[in-house]
C-alpha cells in the first residue's frame, strides 16, 4: 500500500460514511474505525523503513509549473505524527460510538471526522510546502464543520467561525510565507528547502517570511495572542475536542515549527519570536486554566499551555530541546486525549461540565475516575508517568539556555511557575470532581460509562504509564526516529530514564508539585469564600473579545468606507465618469504640447456660419429648457438635429444626411410619445439648500464647459492635421470593382464592414425587444394616468370633433385632412423607400434609410388615424419582422460559406435579360433587405409599444367615462 493509498483511505471512508444512513451509528463507527485501523496498521508497519532515518517518497505531478506537486514524504517525524493521528483516530471512533446520542445524525460526524483524519495525514505527509498549505487549510475547514457540528447552538456557531477565521487567516499568512520561502529557495519541495537553510537564514526577506510562517503556526497551535479560539472550540462534541484540540490539529502548528526547525531556527529572530511566544503562552495558558469551571475549558487552556511549552522548546535553538519538544508532543497527545475523553464521559453521564457542581464522582464511576486521575497526574508531571519525563527534559533545557543573562535567569523560574500552575489546575480537575461530598443536583444521575466507551481511555492511560515507567524500551526507538529529522539528521545525546539523580530539574519538579499543592489549597480556600471565581487580571488579554470587537468594528468600518467611497446616486457617478475622462485625457496629453496642424483650411461660408450659430443656439436652448419646458426643448433639439444634418449634407456625406433626417424625425416622435407619460410641468420644489444647489450647478457647468472646450480643441487639432496614411483609399478603389457598388459608404456597410451592420441591427432588435418587454409591464405615474388636460377640458357630452376621433372608422373630425393626406403619402413613401433601397449600393440610400422611411410612413398612419385603425388593417407583427430580418441577413452571409467563402462575402449574380439588358444582383442586396426588415420591425415595435400605452390608458379609463352621460 503506497502512501497515496494511505492518504486516500480516510477520504474514501469519508465518502462511504457520508452515503450511509445518517443515524446508523454502530455501522458508521465500524466503518470509520476499520478505516482508521487499517490506516494505523499500515503506518505502524512502515516503521522499519523510517526507523534509521529512512525517507519514503512518492511524487505525483499536479501543477508543476506552480511548483505544486503531490509529494508524499514520510520520515520518522511524519511517521510518529501519522501514528498519533491514526491510532488516536481509531480510539476516538470507538469512543464517539458511545458518546454521540442515538438520535444524532452521526453520518455527518464520521464523514467529517475521516475527512479531517485525511487532511491531517496530508499535512504530516507533505513533501511539498504548498501541498502542506492545502491540507493545512483543509483541516481548518473541516474543523470548522466539526466544531459547528451542533450547529443549532450559538456557541457552536461562534466557536466554529472563530476557529476558522483565526486559523484560516493564519493559513493565508502561512501561504504567503511559504510562497516567499519557495521563491527564496526556488522550490517548494521539502527536501530542497531543508537543504537550503543557510540561504534562507541569510536572505533579507527572512524576517518577514519567518513572521508569516510563524503566524500560521501560532494560530493553528493556539499560541498567544491567537490562543483564544481554542477554548471557544470546546463547543464541539467531545470526541472532536479529544482528537482535534488535543492530539492532532493543534499540533499542526508545532509540527510545522519542528518540520522547518532545521532551516528556520538558529537565529535570534527565531529565539525571540518562537521562544518568547512559547514562554508567554505557557504561563498564560496555565494561569487561566487554574480558574476555569468548565471541564473542557480547563483542558483547553491546559492544552494552550502545553503547546506553549512545546513551542518554547523549539524556540530554544537547541537540538536537545527540540527532541524534548517532539517527546512532549507525543506525551501530550496521549494524556490530553484521554483526559478529554474522560471529561466527555463525565459530561455524558452527569449532564454537566461545571466543576463547581461536580463532586465526589469517584464513587459513582470509580473506573473512569481512576483513569482520569492517572491521566491528570501525567498532565501535572508526576513521576512514573510520561508527562513527567518530557517536563523534566524541559526543565533541564531551561537551565541550559544561552542568551541574555536576564533570560538565562528567568527561564527556569518561568518553567517552575508554569509547573506549579499545571499542578494546581490538575488538582482542580482531579480532586474537585472526584472527591468530596457527591453532588445530588446533577441533571443526570451519574454511573459508570459503558465498557467500550472507557476502553479508549484505558488504552491511552496505559500508554502513559508504560512510557512513564519504561521510556527507553517503549518510546525510545520511535522518539529517536521522530526526532532525528527534526534536528537535521544528527541526534544529540540524551537519555530517557525516570531517574537521573537528584538534578536541578528534579528539584524544579518537586517545587512545582509541592508548590502546586499549596497553591491549590490556597485557591480552594479563596474560591470557597467567593473569590477568584473568574480569572483575575487577564481579562484584558482576552483575545476573544478583542477578536469579536475587531471583527465587528471592521465590518462597521467597512460599511462606513463603502458609504464614503461609493454612492447609489446617479449624478455623482456620471460626474465621476466625465471628470475622470477629462483628467485622464489631460494627463495623457501632458508632455506633448498640443499643436494645431497645418492642413489647408476651408474658406469660411457666411451662410453656414449662420446655420451653425442656429445649431448652437438650439443646443444651448434645449439644455436650458429641458427642465421646465420639455416640449420647447424637444423643438430646439430638432433644430440642432437639422443643423447637424445640413452639416453632413454640406461636407460630402449624403448618406449621413439622409439617415440623420429620418432618425431625427423618429426620435422626436418617440420623445413626444413619451412626453404623454410625464407631467407637463414639474412642481417646483424649493431647494433645501439653495447655495449648495448653486454650487453644484456651477461645478457641473464648469465641467461641461471644460469638456466642451476639450472636445473642441481635440477636434480642431485633428481637423487641422494632415490626413494620416489612412486605410480608406482601399475602399475607394475596391468598392466598385470588387464590392459591386459605387456608393462606398454603402458598400462598406453591406460588404467591407457588414459585420458591423449585422451587429447594429442586432442592437436595434435587442433594444426593441427590451422596450417591448419593459412596456408590457408599464405602470404610468399616478398623475399621468388620467387623460391629458387638453382632453379633460373637452366635455364628453359636447358635439365636437375633439372627442376621441378614433371612434371614427374612417378619417374624421379635426384629423380628417391630415388623415387623408397621410394615407395618400403611404404608397408614395413606399415607392420612395423602394427607390432608396434599390439605389443604395450605388447612390446615397440603402436598406436602413428605406426601412426608416417605411416605418415613418406607417407611424404617420397611427398618428393620424389611430393605432387601432392601423392595426386592424395592417396586422404587422414587428417581432417576426425582426426575426425574419436577422435570419435573412445571416443566411445571406452564410450563403457564401456554402461556396467556400467566408461569412458575408458578397457575390454578384450577373444576368442578361432580353429587352431589359444586363442585371447585376449582388448578394449584398439581400443582406440590405434583412437590414430593412429589421429596421422596420424594430422601429415599429418600439413606437407601437409606446403608442399602445395610450390605448391601454383609454381602455382603463373607459368604465369611468361611461358613468358620464355620453353623446350619441
Amino acid at each position: 500500500m503506497s502512501l497515496l493509498m494511505l492518504l486516500m483511505l480516510p477520504f474514501a471512508g469519508c465518502i462511504i460514511t457520508a452515503l450511509l444512513p445518517t443515524r446508523a451509528r454502530t455501522v458508521l463507527a465500524w466503518v470509520a474505525g476499520i478505516v482508521a485501523a487499517i490506516a494505523a496498521a499500515q503506518v505502524i508497519l512502515l516503521f522499519p523503513q523510517v526507523r534509521d532515518g529512512g525517507v519514503l517518497l512518492e511524487s505525483y505531478a499536479w501543477v508543476p509549473s506552480l511548483g505544486l506537486d503531490i509529494v508524499l514524504r514520510m520520515d520518522g517525524f511524519a511517521w510518529i505524527f501519522a501514528v498519533i493521528i491514526t491510532t488516536i483516530g481509531v480510539l476516538v471512533c470507538l469512543y464517539a460510538r458511545y458518546y454521540m446520542s442515538p438520535d444524532d445524525p452521526v453520518a455527518r460526524f464520521y464523514a467529517l471526522f475521516l475527512a479531517f483524519m485525511g487532511a491531517m495525514l496530508g499535512i504530516v505527509l507533505s513533501g511539498n510546502l504548498l501541498q502542506l498549505v492545502v491540507f493545512w487549510e483543509a483541516t481548518s475547514l473541516v474543523s470548522f464543520l466539526l466544531i459547528g457540528y451542533w450547529h443549532h447552538r450559538v456557541d457552536a456557531q461562534r466557536g466554529a467561525r472563530m476557529a476558522l477565521v483565526v486559523t484560516g487567516a493564519g493559513g493565508l499568512c502561512l501561504l504567503a510565507g511559504v510562497i516567499l520561502l519557495g521563491n527564496i529557495v526556488g522550490s517548494y519541495d521539502l527536501d530542497t528547502v531543508l537543504a537550503a537553510g543557510d540561504v534562507i537564514r541569510a536572505h533579507p526577506l527572512y524576517p518577514p517570511m519567518l513572521v508569516l510562517i510563524l503566524i500560521g503556526a501560532f494560530t493553528k497551535s493556539a499560541q498567544f495572542p491567537f490562543h483564544f479560539w481554542l477554548p471557544r472550540a470546546m463547543a464541539a462534541p467531545t470526541p472532536v475536542s479529544a482528537y482535534l484540540h488535543s492530539a492532532t490539529m493543534v499540533k499542526a502548528g508545532v509540527f510545522l515549527l519542528a518540520r522547518l526547525w532545521p532551516v528556520l531556527s538558529g537565529t535570534s529572530w527565531w529565539f525571540w519570536l518562537v521562544g518568547g511566544t512559547g514562554a508567554l503562552t505557557l504561563l498564560l495558558g496555565a494561569f487561566i486554566a487554574m480558574f476555569q469551571n468548565d471541564l473542557k475549558r480547563l483542558l483547553a487552556y491546559s492544552t494552550i499551555s502545553h503547546l506553549g511549552l512545546i513551542t518554547l522548546l523549539f524556540g530554544l535553538n537547541s537540538p536537545l530541546a527540540a527532541v524534548a519538544g517532539v517527546f512532549h508532543i507525543i506525551n501530550h497527545a496521549t494524556f490530553k486525549a484521554s483526559l478529554f475523553m474522560a471529561a466527555g464521559i463525565i459530561d455524558h453521564e452527569t449532564g454537566t461540565r461545571d466543576i463547581s457542581r461536580l463532586n465526589g464522582l469517584i464513587r459513582a464511576m470509580p473506573r473512569t475516575g481512576t483513569l482520569a486521575l492517572v491521566a491528570t497526574a501525567a498532565m501535572a508531571g508526576v513521576p512514573l508517568l510520561n508527562g513527567f519525563l518530557s517536563k523534566e527534559m524541559f526543565f533541564a533545557e531551561t537551565i541550559f539556555v544561552h542568551s541574555h543573562p536576564w533570560v538565562e535567569w528567568s527561564m527556569p523560574v518561568v518553567a517552575t511557575i508554569a509547573g506549579i500552575f499545571a499542578v494546581v489546575y490538575s488538582l482542580r480537575f482531579g480532586y474537585d470532581i472526584f472527591f468530596g461530598e457527591p453532588s445530588t443536583d446533577l441533571p443526570r444521575t451519574p454511573h459508570e460509562a459503558p465498557r467500550w466507551m472507557r476502553a479508549p481511555v484505558q488504552l491511552l492511560v496505559i500508554t502513559c504509564l508504560i512510557v512513564g515507567i519504561i521510556p527507553g524500551l517503549s518510546i525510545g526507538p520511535a522518539l529517536a526516529a521522530a526526532a532525528r529529522p527534526v534536528v537535521g539528521g544528527e541526534l544529540p545525546i540524551y537519555s530517557l530514564a525516570v531517574w537521573h539523580g537528584f538534578t536541578p530539574p528534579l528539584v524544579m519538579s518537586l517545587v512545582a508539585i509541592f508548590g502546586g499543592i499549596a497553591g491549590y489549597l490556597w485557591l480552594r480556600q479563596r474560591q470557597a469564600r467567593g473569590q477568584f471565581l473568574r480569572t483575575p487580571g487577564v481579562s484584558r488579554f482576552d483575545g476573544r473579545q478583542l477578536f469579536e470587537s475587531m471583527l465587528l468594528g471592521l465590518t462597521r468600518g467597512s460599511r462606513v468606507f463603502l458609504r464614503v467611497c461609493s454612492t447609489r446616486r446617479l449624478q455623482p457617478q456620471l460626474f465621476a465618469v466625465i471628470a475622470i475622462g477629462l483628467v485622464l485625457a489631460l494627463l495623457a496629453a501632458r508632455g506633448v504640447p498640443l499643436e494645431w496642424g497645418n492642413r489647408a483650411r476651408l474658406p469660411p461660408s457666411q451662410s453656414f456660419v449662420l446655420l451653425w450659430i442656429i445649431g448652437m443656439v438650439c443646443a444651448v436652448g434645449a439644455a436650458a429648457m429641458a427642465k421646465f419646458h420639455r416640449l420647447v426643448a424637444i423643438t430646439l433639439m430638432g433644430g440642432a438635429g437639422l443643423v447637424t444634418c445640413l452639416t453632413f449634407a454640406w461636407f460630402s456625406a449624403p448618406d449621413l444626411a439622409l439617415t440623420q433626417i429620418v432618425v431625427e424625425i423618429i426620435t422626436t416622435t418617440l420623445l413626444l410619445l413619451g412626453l404623454r407619460w410625464l407631467p407637463m410641468r414639474e412642481k417646483v420644489v424649493p431647494e433645501r439648500d439653495p447655495l449648495r444647489g448653486r454650487l453644484r450647478r456651477g461645478r457641473d457647468l464648469l465641467l461641461a464647459a471644460l469638456v466642451g472646450s476639450g472636445m473642441a480643441a481635440l477636434s480642431y487639432a485633428l481637423l487641422t492635421r494632415p490626413v494620416p496614411q489612412s486605410i480608406s483609399p482601399f475602399f475607394l478603389q475596391r468598392a466598385l470593382p470588387e464590392g459591386g457598388g459605387s456608393n462606398v459608404v454603402n458598400v462598406m456597410l453591406v460588404d467591407f464592414r457588414a459585420l458591423d451592420t449585422l451587429g447594429e441591427i442586432t442592437v436595434l432588435g435587442a433594444v426593441a425587444l427590451t422596450v417591448y418587454a419593459l412596456l408590457r409591464r408599464f405602470r404610468p405615474a399616478a398623475e399621468s394616468i388620467a387623460r391629458p388636460s387638453q382632453q379633460r377640458a373637452v366635455a364628453v357630452n359636447l358635439d365636437t370633433d375633439l372627442v376621441s376621433p378614433s371612434r371614427d372608422e374612417d378619417a374624421g373630425g379635426y384629423l380628417l385632412v391630415p388623415a387623408v393626406i397621410a394615407r395618400l403619402l403611404l404608397p408614395i413613401a413606399l415607392v420612395v423607400a423602394a427607390h432608396f433601397f434599390l439605389r443604395g449600393h450605388n447612390e446615397p440610400g440603402g436598406g436602413f434609410v428605406a426601412g426608416l422611411v417605411i416605418a415613418i410612413a406607417l407611424l404617420m398612419q397611427s398618428l393620424m388615424s389611430g393605432t387601432r385603425w392601423v392595426e386592424a388593417r395592417a396586422p404587422i407583427r414587428p417581432t417576426r419582422w425582426i426575426a425574419v430580418g436577422l435570419l435573412l441577413a445571416s443566411v445571406t452571409g452564410l450563403g457564401s460559406v456554402l461556396f467556400g467563402f467566408p461569412f458575408l462575402t458578397s457575390h454578384t449574380v450577373h444576368a442578361n435579360l432580353p429587352w431589359i439588358g444586363d442585371v447585376h444582383l449582388p448578394s449584398a442586396t439581400f443582406f440590405d433587405l434583412g437590414v430593412l426588415i429589421v429596421v422596420v420591425g424594430a422601429t415599429l415595435l418600439i413606437l407601437t409599444a409606446l403608442a399602445h400605452q395610450s390605448i391601454r390608458a383609454h381602455r382603463q379609463l373607459a368604465p369611468r367615462a361611461t358613468t358620464h352621460p355620453e353623446a350619441p
Binding site: D801, D810, G813, L816, A819, V820, I821, I828, L830, G917
Partner: protein
C-alpha cells in the same frame, strides 16, 4: 372587370406611382420601367386597406385645369402677401376669420380644399364643422365677407365637387 379592379384597385394612384418612380429613377431604361410597373401594381394592392375608402377621381381633365388655376393663384397671392408683409407697418391688411358654408362632403375633396387654402398664401384653413357643413378660414386681406365667400366657393369648392363627387 372585377378581376382587373382587384389587380389595379386604384388606377390613378398606380399611374402616379409609376411616374413618381421614373422621376426618382431619373431614367426610362427598360429595367426601370419594369420595376416602376411592378411597384405601381404591387404597392396599391399592399396598401389597399390603409387607403381612404370610396375616394375616386371622377374628372381628371377638370382636375388639371383646377390645378393650373391654383398655381396661378399661388403666384399672385405670393406677390400680394410679400408686398403686404414689407409694408406691414404702414398698411395693415384687413385680416379676419371667414365662415364658409360648404356643400362639399367628400373627405378627399375636403382635404384637397384644405391643401389649396394652405398653399395659397393669404388663406389659412382653420376649422371644419363637425357635420362638414361649413368651414372657418382665416383670410389675410378681405374687404367684403359675402363677396369673398361667393368667390371662394365658386373658384375652389365647385370644381372640387365636380372632381370628387
Amino acid at each position: 372587370m372585377t378581376m382587373l379592379r382587384r389587380l389595379i384597385p386604384a388606377p390613378w394612384l398606380s399611374i402616379g406611382l409609376f411616374v413618381l418612380w421614373l422621376a426618382l429613377a431619373r431614367s426610362t431604361a427598360p429595367a426601370q420601367i419594369v420595376l416602376g410597373v411592378a411597384l405601381a401594381l404591387v404597392i396599391p394592392v399592399l396598401t389597399a386597406r390603409l387607403r381612404l375608402e370610396h375616394a375616386r377621381l371622377r374628372r381628371p381633365g377638370q382636375a388639371v385645369r383646377f390645378l393650373a388655376r391654383v398655381a396661378f393663384d399661388v403666384i399672385a397671392s405670393n406677390l400680394i402677401v410679400a408686398r403686404d408683409v414689407l409694408r406691414f407697418r404702414t398698411r395693415r391688411p384687413a385680416a379676419r376669420f371667414v365662415v364658409i358654408p360648404l356643400e362639399l362632403r367628400d373627405p378627399a375633396g375636403l382635404a384637397m380644399l384644405a391643401l389649396v387654402t394652405t398653399i395659397v398664401p393669404g388663406t389659412v384653413w382653420s376649422e371644419l364643422a363637425v357635420d362638414r357643413s361649413s368651414m372657418l378660414l382665416h383670410v389675410w386681406d378681405v374687404d367684403d365677407e359675402a363677396t369673398y365667400v361667393a368667390r371662394f366657393k365658386n373658384r375652389y369648392e365647385r370644381p372640387l365637387r365636380d372632381i370628387f363627387e
